[in-house]
Symmetry: C2
Amino acid sequence: MDFELDRGIAVAASGPGEYAATLDRGWVVGGGLNGGYLLAVIGNAIRAELTDSGQPDPVSVSAYYLTPTTPGPAVVRVRRVREGGRRSTVAASLVQQEGGAEVERITVLAVYGSLAGQSPEVDRQIPPPDLPPVEDCVEARFAPDEVRRVAPLLERFGTRLDPAYVGWAVGEPSGSGIIQGWFKLADDRPLDPIALLLVVDALPPVTFDLGLPGWAPTIELTAHVRADPAPGWAIVRHATRNISGGQFEEDCEVWDSRGRLVAQSRQLALLPRVSGKSGQPGDQV
Amino acid sequence: MDFELDRGIAVAASGPGEYAATLDRGWVVGGGLNGGYLLAVIGNAIRAELTDSGQPDPVSVSAYYLTPTTPGPAVVRVRRVREGGRRSTVAASLVQQEGGAEVERITVLAVYGSLAGQSPEVDRQIPPPDLPPVEDCVEARFAPDEVRRVAPLLERFGTRLDPAYVGWAVGEPSGSGIIQGWFKLADDRPLDPIALLLVVDALPPVTFDLGLPGWAPTIELTAHVRADPAPGWAIVRHATRNISGGQFEEDCEVWDSRGRLVAQSRQLALLPRVSGKSGQPGDQV
């Protein structure tokens, strides 16, 4: 099968620990490429580097966003920091050429392992939220034309948002700081551990639900992949509980169609500027 | 004033971006040095590197623990990844000599800035838990002799644990997966942003409260420092909500004496092995 995400995150070995990628314009949102998409590109390069070790799956990935990424060629460099029998730690960087020089876009630390070899036991987990049926949720792809023009990303997703937290789309944000819904990729590509790196940053920022439209630049995002997702609709929930000093944290949980928590992330981000000037990804971070 | 923590985390420039430290045996817990102490040592080296830039405070620090650290000499190497007007991103590593070779112990990515220059506004925050008065909480320093022998660390802290979650000390864990209490340093050194890197890993692991004694090796810990703490007793809460596949997440929040959330962290850790063989920090990670 030929899926959009696989084309978008494809990497080709171009040297020792070096992988060439072409960042696809289809994953643009606002002034730059979606941070979750970029994380999946980097995650896929690390997977290529570690597959021979039998450790193809992300366990923990911490990304620091440095400068705005643009569609086109990019290189991911992967350095093995520590190779263990069950897990390996790597450092990775996504770089692009800009004005004749190489500029680092995102720098990452990650632990990879094998989810297949992990105990299937679940001792405790946060239960997924009660959502209305998929057909009663709001399809994000049906956003107004002006939104879709600046966010071709929306066409890649089959997201159905919980109507309780979509009032922001018509100027009536709930003020809860929550965005949640059903998630699948638009072309029904099955989710896997690499796709989960995309999913944790696939919904609109929770600041929309607080009446703060605009770009919320990510300072840091750490994702933990806890299990291989089962096929079917996932449930994704984003929430913020701490907003201060111009910053907020956004916690994300992802459950698969069995209701199993398969990924969890937290990011620290800057509140959108309310000056009317819309920010660019990476601005001031 | 001459405080234990300042002696323990002191660094001396030993080359460009290189800082020598002496890891103090007083911060040992079980088979190794406390992860929060090590984070404060690294954080202090980064602070030394960035003080001239007017960005002395940790904003976000992500640490990947590689191999067990031992008391004695260590070197912290700091590489500036991106220098911005308001925040800078660095990569840092703590290394030690072992058998004639240099071994990396912990690798870190961090964003530093200036908390003094940050807006004091708090729009929303998790409220601190209701704790009994300090004098009704349990002083961890009064642990049994055999615990104190393997954990000299306890003597550094003035922690007073909420009695609702200390049953594990007498074989009756609450099973809640929570540990919380009042926190100060034993010698009353005031808390500051660097000390908060210690505080987020200063309480016993939440697995104690689940009836799982033993070492819980950290895979990854990310701390966000949200504000400069006010003087006085802090409140610290650790909780886990997701335990699966032999792993658990431990979320930590720290509030200062004004009740302001000043730091937040999440770590992904391995459940203690129940074989009876006690693990070493860094084992199998």
